[in-house]
């Protein structure tokens, strides 16, 4: 039975519980009792007691089942199969057993494997059946328990409110759990990585070539994990992006707030915001399809050699993506400066440009700087544009016409198509992810601090 069907049945049971509870309470009322809560609340109480434990059980069961079944299966395997094997080989064999169980056979597997597949199948069936039985039992038991609590004096409404309140709290804790999950998964995997590659080599090494040999006798580099060229590439592309986005965003914000009339503003502002709504994969394709060839041909016509995945193309397109961030943050910051300050400047005979440069921009600076910092953090974490348009090889260069690679590109290329989690190559991705997470977090906190600390208050 599929989990979806089970969910539906539990929902139906909860509804039955609601009807039962309500009928109970109505019966009590008809018998001349005065109830504390109206009958529907008795129904909700029963329904919650029916549904919540059952759903919780399904979730926990689903999360634990595959691990438990795998362990049981491993324990039941004949010892000659598992003796002296590395965990990687064991997981390969588990995969083979599951494939055979699902009917996907390659060649003629070992008889022991076929037996194990049959055992796996029966374990799975037993587990699924047990889950259905336990869940339904929990649901019915919930109904029975809740119904036994119902009485005229029973404070059903307060109980239901209490349960709902706890549900709300659990939901808001999910935000903390997500952060915790991010930090834990990054730190644990990075820990495994740094136990093989020293932290200092990772942070300060100048050579990045994460391809490790697959066989021991292979003639290949043993893998170098000095991430400085990767960090440099990220910073370089972000700087190029900001060089495009900062002037364009700032000047358009100044124009829209101070010069443009209402009609122009109401048309142009949403148009600029469209740029922020376009998915990054579209920008990536645009960079590959149009911008990179254009820059390449333009450079060629000047006699320059331009890489087809130049940092300029990736950074430039990323800059276009970031324009609306800068412009809307600057827009808000400039608009927030009170009219009296403009009037004061005009009264002293300043032109509009002088007012903007010497009065409005200094007053709006914290907001603008905060926006720029957020935009930089966005640029560092941006993935698809650079995955498609930037290079794969890590080079330390200041020439924007050459290809550089970035942290996000490396994370994607290290992890795509790889399911093994014991090579330094895949673990390196989590090391890079940790650096990325910490740096974007630091930038965001810094941005908030700048806005908070230096914002002028006009009262």
């Amino acid at each position: 039975m599929s989990v979806t069907l089970l969910f539906a049945i539990v929902l139906a049971l909860a509804f039955v519980g609601y009807l039962l509870g309500r009928a109970n309470a109505s019966g009590l009322k008809a018998a001349g009792n005065s109830l504390h809560s109206i009958p529907p609340y008795h129904g909700y109480f029963v329904a919650l007691w029916c549904g919540l434990p059952a759903f919780l059980l399904v979730f926990i069961w689903q999360a634990a089942q595959s691990t438990v079944v795998d362990q049981l299966l491993l324990a039941s395997l004949p010892p000659h199969l598992t003796e002296g094997m590395t965990p990687a080989r064991v997981s390969l064999m588990l995969g083979e057993i599951k494939n055979v169980a699902a009917g996907r056979m390659f060649g003629t597997p070992d008889q022991a494997i076929i037996d194990a597949a049959a055992r796996y199948q029966s374990l799975q069936n037993t587990a699924s059946l047990a889950m259905v039985v336990c869940t339904l039992a929990a649901a019915v038991a919930g109904i029975a328990f809740a119904r036994s609590r119902l009485s005229p004096e029973f404070r059903a409404r307060n109980r239901v409110d209490g349960i709902l309140r706890w549900l709300l709290i659990v939901c808001s804790i999910l935000a903390i759990l997500t952060t915790l999950g991010i930090i834990l998964s990054l730190v644990i995997e990075s820990w495994a990585f740094f136990s093989r590659v020293p932290v200092a080599e990772f942070l300060f090494g100048l050579n990045w070539s994460p391809q490790t040999p697959i066989r021991a006798d292979q003639v290949a580099s043993t893998g170098a994990f000095g991430a400085v060229p990767v960090f440099w590439g990220t910073i370089f592309i972000s700087v190029i992006a900001m060089l495009v986005a900062l002037p364009v965003g700032l000047f358009s914000a100044i124009y829209l707030v101070e010069y443009a009339d209402k009609r122009v503003r109401s048309v142009v502002k949403p148009l600029l915001e469209i740029l922020a709504g376009i998915p990054t994969i579209v920008y990536g394709f645009f960079a590959v399809l149009t911008v990179a060839p254009f820059i390449r041909e333009f450079g060629m016509s000047l006699g320059l050699s331009v890489a087809s995945n130049s940092a300029l193309a990736a950074g430039g397109v990323m800059g276009i993506m970031i324009i609306p961030f800068i412009s809307s943050f600057s827009d808000d910051a400039i608009t927030a400066v009170p009219q009296s300050m403009r009037d004061g400047a005009y009264a002293l005979g300043a032109t509009k440009a002088e007012t903007i440069r010497q009065v409005l921009l200094p007053a709006a600076l914290p907001g603008i700087v905060g926006g720029v910092l957020l935009a930089v953090s966005r640029a560092i974490g941006e993935t698809m544009i650079v995955v498609m348009a930037a290079g794969l090889t890590a080079t330390l260069t200041v020439n924007p016409l050459e290809g550089v690679t970035t942290v996000t590109v490396q994370i994607v290329t290290l992890l795509i198509g790889d399911t093994e989690f014991d090579s330094p190559k895949t673990l390196a991705a989590f090391g890079l992810g940790l650096v990325l997470f910490i740096s974007t977090l630091a930038l965001n906190i810094l941005a908030l601090q700048v806005v908070k600390r230096y914002r002028e208050r006009y009262e």
Binding site: A63, R157, D161, L168, C171, S172, I173, L174, A175, T178, T179, G181, I182, S185, L186, V248, G249, F251, S252, I254, Y255, A260, L271, L272, I274, L275, G277, I278, P279, T280, I281, V282, F285, F286, I323, R342, Y346, T351, K352, A353, L374, R378, G381, T383, M384, V387, T408, I411, V412, L415, I416, F421, F430, G433, L436, F437, T440, L441, I445, L448
Partner: protein, 429 residues
């Protein structure tokens, strides 16, 4: 403000501006010009982006088809098991009948390159659907191959020297003969929407990706909508002001700014490795996307709840409602338009998100739409990524067409959001 400026210029008749004032006004005009230039640059980039995508997508609107006369001999297909027939051979024979002068193996191979590999399956499906066709001669229409398609659409230049183009002179000749015989047609390319992925551009379509994206968004909605509302209601209506709720708030704001690829790493480490969920499955993609969408929905819901005036709550509590009833019966329904608007915008963002889906393996090559949310599948943006990476020329226009499909969905979702905001927004005065 603009009035003062206008008056200033008007008075210049009796006031002779000196050089310094001229300079100052010139600086003012320069700043204005920079602003106009910046806006024009940004808009020009937007136009170029949309324009190039539209232009490159244009060839994918139609698909070049060929109509061949095939004869299915009695012995070639077993009527009780029509799936097992050797349809490629039957097709090859009918192609050879059309071009009897082609006999060397090299030429035959080149000739067959004009026709799609999908022809045999089209023929098979037709025969399986109607076994009375066995032993008869009938017409069948199926796609030309990528090079034939490109030839028809003029993407391959005929004027180029033959060693620089992907089709030989003979292939062009055969193609022209097919055109003369009226066997070539170019109907609307419905296959782009309704086919699943394929290695051959002329057969590749978005159906698998659309279904995958639908499942992922469904999960994303089912998880993030109730949870987001619950979290926002707690923080806005119930939470006491203490360090714990502060921690939650800081967390939510930070999550909104975490790069999407980090969520991909989370999904890989937690959902795939720790919980052992299936790789490439829409359920995992949907869960990762819902964690990303959650902050958006929470922030939008809190704004919508804040906009409901306190008098509503006071009135409800005044007539004896509990706080939960106040929120459930009055505040939430009034805030719902704002919440739904925020949710749709969050879902639109989730639909376009690519990086986390790559990390959990939703860029696999899968030639059938998923049956359920637990089967491996692609999603719309990852399908675009796969096609953009494919070397065949035909995929370039199909990638652009897929982008237009994606942008179309985004435009619709945002239009609904804007409409709802306009239609249901209440002004409390």
């Amino acid at each position: 403000m603009s009035d003062t400026a206008a008056q200033g210029t008007g008075r210049r008749a009796w006031y002779e501006p000196d050089a310094k004032l001229k300079r100052r006004h010139a600086a003012d005009r320069r700043l204005r010009a920079y602003g106009v230039a910046a806006i024009l640059f940004a808009l020009a980039m937007l136009m170029t982006l949309v324009g190039t995508i539209l232009v490159t997508a244009a060839p994918a609107v139609t698909q070049t088809m060929v109509t061949l006369e095939v004869e299915v001999p009695e012995g070639a297909v077993n009527p009780s098991d029509p799936r097992g027939g050797s349809y490629q051979k039957i097709l090859n024979e009918s192609v050879a009948r059309l071009f009897p002068e082609v006999d060397t193996p090299r030429e035959l191979r080149e000739l067959r390159q004009l026709f799609s590999n999908g022809g045999q399956y089209a023929l098979r499906d037709k025969v399986v659907a109607d076994t009375s066709l066995i032993g008869r001669t009938f017409d069948i229409t199926f796609p030309l191959s990528d090079i034939g398609d490109q030839l028809h659409k003029g993407v391959i230049g005929r004027d180029l020297p033959s060693d620089q183009r992907r089709v030989s002179d003979e292939q062009i000749g055969w193609y022209d003969r097919l055109v003369e015989q009226g066997r070539i047609s170019a109907p609307l390319n419905w296959g782009l929407i309704f086919n699943a992925d394929s290695r051959f551009p002329e057969l590749a379509g978005l159906w698998g990706a659309l279904v995958g994206s639908f499942y992922a968004l469904l999960i994303c909605f089912l998880v993030s909508f109730p949870v987001g509302i619950a979290a926002a209601v707690y923080l806005e209506e119930f939470a006491p002001k203490n360090r714990f709720t502060d921690l939650i708030e800081v967390n939510i704001n930070n999550l909104a700014a975490v790069p999407s690829i980090v969520f991909g790493l989370l999904g890989l480490a937690v959902f795939l490795n720790f919980f052992g969920m299936p790789r490439s499955a829409p359920i995992v993609g949907g869960l990762v996307l819902s964690l990303m969408t959650l902050p958006t929905i929470i922030i939008a819901t809190r704004a919508a709840l804040k906009a409901v005036p306190p008098s509503i709550r006071e009135a409800a509590i005044g007539v004896g409602a509990s706080r939960m009833q106040t929120v459930g019966h009055h505040v939430l329904p009034l805030a719902m338009p704002g919440i739904l608007t925020g949710t749709i915008i969050g879902l639109a963002q989730a639909l376009g998100e690519t990086a986390p889906l790559l990390l959990i393996g939703m860029n696999a090559f899968i030639t059938a739409a998923p049956d359920s949310m637990f089967n491996p599948s692609t999603a719309l943006p990852t399908q675009i990524y796969i096609w953009a990476d494919s070397p065949e020329r035909g995929f370039t226009s199909r990638t652009s067409a897929a982008i237009i499909v994606l942008l179309g969905f985004l435009v619709c979702m945002n239009a609904i959001a804007i409409y709802m905001r306009k239609r249901f927004e209440r002004r409390w005065s």
